[in-house]
Each structure stands twice: as C-alpha cells, then as structure tokens.
Amino acid sequence: MADMKTAAYICRGCGIGERVDAAQMAKIAEKEGKMNLVRSHEFLCSASGVQMIRDDIEKESVTHAVIAACSRRAKTEAFHFPAIALSRASIREGVIWSQPDTPEARETTQEMADDLVRMACAEVKKMKVPAGNPDVGRNKRILVVGGGVSGMTAAVEAAKAGYEVVLVEKEARLGGWAAKLWKRVPYREPYRDPADTGIDKLAAQVQSDKRIKVHLNSTIARTGGAPGRFTVEVATESGAVAAEEVGAIIQASGFTLYDATRLTEFGYGRSPNIVDQAGLEKLAREAAAKGEPIRRPSDGGEVKTVAFVQCAGQRDATGRHLPYCSGFCCNTSIKQALYFKDANPAVDTVVIYTDLRTPGNGEDFYRSAQAKGVVFTKGKVLSVEPTDKTLTVRFQDLILNEDTAIENVDLVVLATGQVPNSGVNIDLPPEEQEKLEVKPVSILNLAYRQGKDLPQLKWGFADSHFICFPYETRRTGIYAAGPVRRPMDIAQAIEDATGAALKAIQAVENAELGRAAHPRSGDLSFPIVRLEGCTQCKRCTVECPFGAIDEDEKRYPVFNESRCRRCGTCMGACPVRVISFENYSVDTVGSQIKAVDVPDEFSEKPRILVLACENDAYPALDMAGMRRLTYSPFVRVIPVRCLGSVNTIWITDALNSGYDGVMLMGCRHGEDYQCHFVKGSELASYRMGNIDDTLKQLALETERVATYEVAITDIERVPQLINDYAAKIKEIGLSPLKGFG
C-alpha cells in the first residue's frame, strides 16, 4: 500500500454549521488530528461534496479519510469509498441532534463535536483497508450428509445451479423416511387426497445427475478445514475410507421417530395392533403390494375401527417425553385415516387430539377428511388396553369433560414425534455425556477445537436462534436442513433444503473471495494474530462463538479465517492483545479513547465512555438523535462490532486516563439472547463481572463500569440510561485518577 495520506472533511450542513464552530473542528483535525488535508463543505453529501472527496482520493492520493457529518448509518451511498479507510464522526445525530439548542449548551456541544473529530482522526490513522485473506479455499463442491428428502433435494437443487455435490447416506439406499411412506400429505390443490411420495423419482434424479456423486452405506469419519477447503473422510461399512474435498456442507441427517416403547400407557409393544405412524405406513405399503386392505396385525382380521392418538409422547409437560409439537403428525394422521376411508368408507376412523394443527392449506385436507367421515374428537388419551383381539382406548373427552372409552378398536396408531439426528451435544459437559443411556454418534466428526458436531439450540435441534436468519448456524459453511433443524413435514423439508443449498453455494462463493458470512457479510477483514506474543492461554479458542479457532500441538491458536464471522470476540478475549483486524483493533478503539480531551478535576465536566453494539445500541442512540431526545454532553460514544470484542484494556485505559465512567451497551443475553454473534454480549458480561477486581486495584468505585442490555427499540430508554448514569457519576464524584493518565 502506498504511503498514508490523511484527510478530514467537515460538513456544515443540516445545521452543523450553525450549531457548532466547524472552523474549530477543522483546526482540531489539522493540528491535533494531524490530518494532511482538511476541507469543510456546506453540504458534503451533495454531488459537489462527494466529488471533492473523490478528487482528493484520485488526485491527492488520499488513503485515509474522516467524514465529520452525519451518522455512519446515513448517506451511505454518497460516502461510499471502498478503496480508502474511512471513519465517520456523527456530528449530526450524535451531537447537534442529541444536545439542546440553547446558549448554555453551546460550549459542551462544541466539546462533543471536537472530541468526535479527534476520535475519528485517531481511529482512521490506525485503520487499514482490508487487503483480503490470502489463504482462501476455492473448492466449490458441496457435501450433503443424508440421503432422505432433505438431502436429496439439497443435492439436486445445488446441482441444478451448476455445483458438484457429494452425497453421503448411511443406509444402503436413498430415500430416508419418505421411502418408507405409502403416500404423502397433499401439497397442492385440491389438498383433498393423499399424494404419491415422488421419492423414487427424486432418488433416480440424484443417481442420474452427473454432478452428484453418491456414497451409500457411508458415514463421515472426519471433517476438517473451513469453507472452501473442507477435507472429509467418508467411511464405508466395509471399512474403506474415501477422501473428499468440498467447500461447504449441508447436514440433512433427519430424525428418528420417538421411541414408542416408552409410551407404556399406550400399550405399545403389548399388542401388535398398536403401532406408531411408521408402523402404519409399513402396513399400508404391504397391503398395497398385495392389493388388499390393511388388516389387523395380530390375526389378519378385518379392520373396522381405527383410532389415532395425537401428541403421543409429545407436548409433554411431565418431563418424561418430548416437550415440543412435531408439527407434521396431525396431517399425517388425517392422511392415514384416509388410507382406510378411501379404501372402505365403512371403516370407523377417529382422531383423538387436543389441538388439531393443520396450518395453511392443511385446513382443506382436514375438511376433506371430515367430509369423508373421519371423526375428530377433542380429548386426551389416558390408556390403550389390549383386550381379546381388539383394543380399548380410554380418554378424557375435553368437550364433555368426562372420561370415556372406545371399545373394539382394531388398530391404534400413535402419533409420536421427531427426534433429530443431530449427533453429539457439544455443549454437554463430558460427565453429563457419560450419563446418557444411548451414546450419540457424531454425524460430522468435526476436527474442531470446540467439538464434533453442530451446536444444538434446544432439544437436540440444530436450529438457528435467529428468527430473521433461520440458516445461521454457529459453524460457518455448515448448514442444517430438514427435521434435524426443527420438526417439519416433507413440504417444508423440500423448501428448507433448497434454501440450505443456496446458503452452501453462498458459503463457497464467499470463501473464494475471502468474504465474511452473515452478519458482517462481505467484510474482508479477518483476525490477524501475532503469535510471538501469544501466551497459549486458549481464551480465544474457547470463546469463539463460531468454533473458528483450533489449536496446534503446542497449543497455539490456529485461525481458520473462512470460519470466522469477524465479531472480534477473540480480540476482546485476548489478555495480551495480539489479535486484531485491519480495520478494527485494540488500537483503533484504544486510540479513540485516548484522543478524547479529558477536562481536569476542577472542570465539573465528567467524561463517560460508551461502548455501544453497532447493531442495536448504536442505532438506538442514532434514532434518539433523530427524535431530538437529548442526553448528557459528557458521553463519548464508540460503536463496537459486538460487546464480545471489548477488550478490558480499553476500560482500564479509559479509567487511567481520567474518564469518570464506562457504559457498555450490548444485546440481551441468556436464553432468549439477541446478540447476533450469539455469545458476544454474554461473554462481555462475564468479563465485566471480573472487572470489579481491577476497579478495586485502582481504588475506584465499582459503579464506574456499568453494563446494560439494550435493544434497538430502546430509543427513549438509551438517553435515559445515559442521563441516569451521568447523575450517578455526579453523585459519586469525578474520578480521582484525573491528571495521572
């Protein structure tokens, strides 16, 4: 890169020129900020203002620029200069709009603006334009683990987009659960009758596609690497191991039906006439093959009455069975009832349910079943008892509120739920793993420092925690699809697998260009570590929310840049501060903290540092400004990628330089966490829990550092928090460390 040439551009528009002394800001940029070029403009985002900057970049070779105008969230198109390092000082939202327009406030408003210029100048000089990761993987093949509907769909859809696919299936044939079905729930108009599964056709499509390579009877023995350069060992039953190089992975390992033998109250295992939904499909397929109606398994007798028990072992509040609803089973029971009704309307079919759940056009299927004479009874089944040749189903009728029974039932079908095949729960401590009855078998066998499989969200499902971003797992380039992600039916699994295929394609395309995946999509920066300073403390490898960092045999961290999401949690964790990003580092923030002009102890002007999550707290502050909600002029706000990236040195430096308090604003953590880097805000809160010792060492009050959970909607609350905190600082007095920094 050429020599650094710095420039600062001060905008006087939107009232900035009237409210603060722009000439003074320019002088500060020049004298204190040591900017090579300083220009001021009455309307910087106008065509002429933007052209001025562009000309400076081209003709004056400006490489680093400060724009002191509006918030970094505004006018992003106008101030889009990707070739240079850029720092934006929020003079509009962060100063003139958040400070009262009164003569008394003028002095402190000016000080705020001046400081923001100082901070931006300090920051930009420490920034580099990310040069991109030289160590990128270029493999664009996609590995699909699982050959059921989800896996096959993902494979076919990725291949249709022109990508090569490797599909690994543990069984001897493709098809998964769907291949065991006689029919599927209808998925198009008129939503009336069970439909063909289409699974043979899909399997044939997979097998005939030249872009798809299929490994049957195979499992994954090892997965190492990163997006764009995964190396995978595929182990076949015979013991042979094939090596595959792939760029991204789709885990479509499906589900297992909940074990019906645990449902002793429903008599499963005590009579062959009590089956689960898979058992009924088997009966239906066998009967269809013979061209006969479904018969009573115990003796081949005619089936005259069938009862379907919904939520068998599901939606369970006792803690013994599945707490969730599997979503597909109501429609499946309707479909299975129609197996009987369509063959012989004289067969009595009754579905016993608490809430019938047939969303969307499932409602038409439900109506169709009602029209065909399937009986739906709102009730809770208490027991299924084998009698002579038939069964008695006892249930609590929830409409009449009385216990009742259906006798002479020939067949009972238990609608048990889906249990995800998600492998090892890596968050379970080893001693808990030991206690498990059934030792889970890893699906991916990831050679990752943080464990062999995808982290699970809840109840074993490898789902994303994000409502807006359902595919975002915590392992970059590895996407879960189908019922391993959350309970779902075939129609949803097909849609889900198609989406997962897109994400896998995106992962390989991004990996090739060295770009970050969600949520900092496109970011070319990546963590750079000075290993010579590393003390092998392992905090970064343990704390990375995305399992991006491995360890070598000497316990040094090994960064897999393509697995990194650029949150900076490693940087925040590092006690010796050897981890940084080119455009975000201990220095870029640290120098801003030090650039602030801290008045002396007699000034009665405290300084409060606010480190605000750039995605939620910072926009909330911005919007507070837009609403002209005022807050204390003594705060200096620095947006951070995530509270997880906050290194405690920033806090101790701030306090040592005479700041009177530090506010950290991050996202909610805990069960319903909102941190978009999953663990960042939680880790920050944990680290700040330890800062009290530091404060004590400095002989400072513990109130001098405060952590807040802030949501993006806290537009009114954030100014209030600031004002309350400023009042608190006033109460405890200015820092005794002023003047010693």
Partner: protein, 428 residues
Amino acid sequence: MTQAVATNQTILVVGGGISGVTAALEAAECGKDVVLVEKNPALGGRTTMLYRYFPKLCHPTCGLEINLRRIKANPRVRVLTMAEVTGIAGTRGDYTATIRIAPRYVNGNCTACGACAEAVETMVDDPFNYSLNRTKAAYLPHAMAYPLRYVLHPSIIGTPDAERAKAACKYSAIDLDMKEETIKLKAGAVIWATGWQPYDAAKIQPYGYDRFANVITSVEFERLADPRGPTGGAILRPSDGKQAKNVAFIQCAGSRDENHLRHCSRICCMASLKQTNYVRESYGEEAKSTIYYIDIRAIDRFEEFYAKVKSDPRVKFIKSKVARIAEDAKTKDVVLHGVDTEGYHRYANTHDLCVLAIGMEPSVPAERIPAEVIADSSGFIEATPEGSAIFGAGCATNALDVNRSVQSATAAALRAIQVINQVARAEA
C-alpha cells in the same frame, strides 16, 4: 436510480418486505445482480411494523438493521422504491418488466434533516401505524427507513404547503415537478415476494369492526404496543384512550372459514399468545387476557411459548368461536357472545378491548400478478409453471411466519440463480 442497468442475468425481486429483502440479499451475496422493487417509500414491509417477534420477543428492527447494513454494503442490490411492476413480458431467462415509479417529490439530495416536515402544516394518515394517527404530509416513513429520505404526500402537491416544503429545504431536495414514470428492465428470473395483507375485518360483520371503536385487529394492536406507535407504546383503547387492561383475543378472525379465508393463517395463534405478553408487560397483575380459540396452533418449537403463556394465571383460554360482539353504548366496552364448547355454556363477556387475530391474504392475489403462476384457492402462489422463471417467495406463496418466509425466500433465490447460471453458461 431509474437508469438501473439490468440484463438477462439480473434477478428482479418484486416486494421489499422481509422476503424480498432476503431473496435479494441472498442472491446478491452469491454474486448475482439484483433489482429490488418496492411499492412503498421504504423497505421492510410488515415486519417493520411489528413490535416484537414470537417466540423470543425480540425486535424485528434488529434484523432489519442487519439487512439494511447488508444492502448498504452490497452494490449488487439496486433498490427502486415507490415502484410497482405492472407487466412482465418474455420467457425464462429473458424477461422485460415494466415498472411504474410514483413521484416521491424528494430527490437524492435529501439529508433527512426534517426541515420540510417542520414547514408543512397538512396532516395525513400515517400508513406506518395503520392510520391510527396522523403524520405531516412531508414525512420520513419511519426512523429506520431505507432509503433514508423524506416523501411528500401527493395530496399537497399544488398547494402552498408543497411550496413551503420546497422553500424550507436548503439542499434542493424537493422537486415538485417529479412525474410518474415508467421504465423497462431486463431480468432473467423474477422473484415475486409481494407479501400479505390483513383480511378486511369489516367483512366479518358479527364482530363489528366497522361499528365499534374498541374492536381492532392484531396488526393495529401491534402498533399500540410499539413505542414508535401512535400511543408511544401505551395500550390505550381507541374509544376514550382508557388503559385497556382486560383484552379479548379472537382467533381465526377470517381464517378457517369458508365464508372468508378457507386456509389457516398459521401465525395468528402465536401472534395472540405474544400479544398477551404486551398486556402483561403494560399492566402487570392487573392485566387480563382472554383468548377465544378453536385450536391453538403453536406448532413445533413454539409449543414451549404456548405452555409459558398458559401458565400465566392472567391469561384465560376459552374454546369457542365467538358468535357476535356487542358494544355497551355507555362505556363502549365490548361484550362477546358465544358458547364455550368445553362444557357447552353460553357466555356474554365484557372486555375493554377486543383484538381480532386477523387472517392473512396475499396482498397481490395471483390473478393480479402480471405473469403466469399456479395459484391455490386463496390466491397464493402455489408453484411455478414448467419452463417459467417466476418464483414465489414468502407470504405471496402461503400464510407464513417470518422464519418460514425467510426460508422460502432463500429457496426462491436459489431457483432464480439456477436460471441465471443457465443463462450465463449459454452465453459463455
């Protein structure tokens, strides 16, 4: 912006709600060029108008911020607002879309400083709050609007107010001569993501939405709970601004009803369960929510959320399709009449406010989509005809929650990319 160059390797995304934004970004982040067309002045659609999501009770604007950052950072996505696709001609891999762009009367010079809004006197209904309040006729659609640019309401054009707005703007951002224009754009594939709209509650006559002030819809209730909403987040009933502490929620308002919407709208049970939290948040132990339902459809993982709400003693569930609503003429309280099917007894229950968990219908029913699609009986896009490259996404395809809309949009992005890659291979 209107000169947006597009080719038959461009993906046209119609609709800038969460589905359209997702489809556009997911495709663009695979390296494809996208034109995103939105008829409103800002992106975000209906999710922007939600206060919280179920089941996490987190804020949709958090995800919007991430998505807007992605858009700002990605030059491959070009956004046209106030634009509607009126025609699509051509075939798979080679479409020409006709797009009508309404005048905004504010150009790219706008800095969103707000001087025009201060100058203008006329007030208009605020669409962001389902017209529950009024806003200045020069307005920013909402605080997170993208583009961050004001709009002049067409009703003031030609009036002194428009001139006042123009005079107040120091940056020549107001252009009162802007005219509607029509442009044509090439595209290889189209993603149709025009989303949903609430079913017209007035059509459910026995519920008196058009007659009783204190019968509102779930989307309106959402605005009441939102600090950015018309009441600043206070749950106050429309008739007299009284605190609405005793709230009735009627499920399947329009849905699962062959006289109205034959489908189940999927989201409404969870929406009402979520909204009982708003009442609780506002009024604590004084809060009282009653949910009148047929089946509570808290599907899959959401069951846990249902269980949590059920355990709240301040929330009551009544299995009943409410027969009719009456209004107490003096107090304006609403009185719900019906039969509780659990035990079969009649009730006449008085509440401060009644919220209709209103069903979802496609905002552009399939027959009004200017291209051939396979539709279901409710007008949602069911499938793409063989040989076509017009793909439905999100709530244009079904009544979906946000999570599933995003899933659907991501899948649609791949379907579009398959076509674009074929075109690219053919041209290579």
